[in-house]
């Protein structure tokens, strides 16, 4: 990093403050659309922290994958499931929040204690700086080749799985009768397994 040290410190303070405040906003804001956009801000600040850590390639990957793909995916999911519903009150919600908050504060204190009491082997080797991308490429094609290939298989499996889980209307033939069956009609015709409905569902499949 060839920036003056004071500039680095100011950048770190700003980025970490944005990260922490943004993550609190993601968790605490009542409107989930604001949460999703704040999550994008958190991802961008984390990418800035990566730049401070001499990792330009991972910062670019973070922006491409998280801000460009994951955050947009979350926004699409919010649009698709956007139903305004009044959540039923739960007994003991405040107690539960306070208890989990205490547990998380304890975890935070523990992590801070570990971070500050461990004697790290500092100063370590000199960081490679701008050669990091070359080193990552060498790692990915020599000693981390098998995880790299497995990651491609994992991404393919995730893609196929997401399509299979999220598709709605599939025209295919019924296994038993051999008649063409519409997946959407089957879902409507079947007695609702999960929804508590008072009226019986209309039978659409019995018609030819």
């Amino acid at each position: 990093m060839s920036i003056a040290s004071t500039t680095q410190q100011i950048c770190f303070l700003v980025l970490s403050a944005t990260t922490v405040v943004g993550s609190l906003g993601v968790v605490l804001l009542p409107n989930i659309v604001y949460s999703a956009f704040l999550l994008g801000g958190v991802f961008l600040s984390v990418a800035g922290l990566y730049l401070l850590l001499n990792a330009s390639f991972v910062a670019a990957a973070q922006i491409l994958v998280y801000v460009g793909a994951v955050n947009v995916l979350i926004l699409f999911a919010i649009m698709l499931v956007n139903k305004q519903e009044t959540l039923a009150a739960i007994p003991g919600l405040l107690v539960r929040r306070l208890l989990s908050g205490a547990v998380c504060a304890g975890l935070f204190a523990l992590l801070l204690r570990v971070a500050f009491t461990t004697t790290w082997a500092l100063p370590g080797p000199t960081p490679v700086g701008e050669e990091a991308t070359i080193r990552i490429g060498e790692h990915l094609f020599t000693d981390y080749l098998l995880p790299f290939e497995l990651a491609s298989v994992l991404l393919l499996m995730a893609m196929i799985g997401a399509i299979v889980l999220a598709r709605r209307d599939v025209f295919s033939t019924d296994v038993i009768t051999g008649e063409p069956a519409d997946q959407g009609l089957i879902e409507k015709d079947r007695t609702p397994l999960l929804i508590e409905k008072s009226a019986p569902a209309p039978t659409l499949l019995s018609k030819p």
């Binding site: 990093m1 060839s2 920036i3 040290s5 004071t6 410190q9 770190f12 922490v20 993550s23 968790v27 989930i32 949460s35 991802f43 984390v46 922290l49 401070l52 850590l53 001499n54 990792a55 390639f57 973070q62 998280y66 793909a69 994951v70 995916l73 979350i74 699409f76 999911a77 919010i78 698709l80 499931v81 139903k83 959540l87 929040r97 989990s100 998380c104 504060a105 935070f108 992590l111 801070l112 790290w120 082997a121 100063p123 370590g124 080797p125 000199t126 490679v128 990091a132 790692h139 981390y144 990651a151 994992l154 991404l155 995730a158 799985g161 997401a162 399509i163 889980l165 709605r168 879902e187």
Partner: protein, 109 residues
């Protein structure tokens, strides 16, 4: 500009930010009623782990930057997890017509 060997930011500062991010993620994971927010909290926790990996990679493993390679794999797995998680969420919403986590209690003991 001079490239000083000792970084002006201590390693513990990065670890503290990552710990804070992780704890906020855990709190959101436990307390969110909306299923999409639960997925966002998981992303926060994965980012906290990534910050830790990158900090250790820069400060303690500056020549063989293995932490950065691990961070890339974590990003890959996070992308796959987000896609499958949101597909599961869509399927759940189609079946139960809600995203309230308290009503997904089919497996409750």
């Amino acid at each position: 500009m001079s490239t000083d060997l000792a970084s002006p930011i201590p390693l513990e500062a990065f670890l503290s930010v990552a710990a804070m991010l992780f704890c906020v993620g855990v709190w959101g994971l436990i307390n969110s009623r909306n299923a999409v927010r639960v997925l966002m909290s998981i992303e926060l926790m994965l980012n906290a782990v990534n910050i830790n990996l990158m900090a250790f990679s820069n400060y303690l493993d500056g020549q063989l930057i293995r932490g950065q390679v691990f961070a890339i794999f974590v990003i890959t797995v996070a992308a796959a997890e987000a896609a499958v998680g949101l597909a599961i969420l869509l399927s759940l919403y189609r079946n139960r017509e809600t995203v309230d986590m308290e009503r997904f209690n089919l497996l409750r003991w």
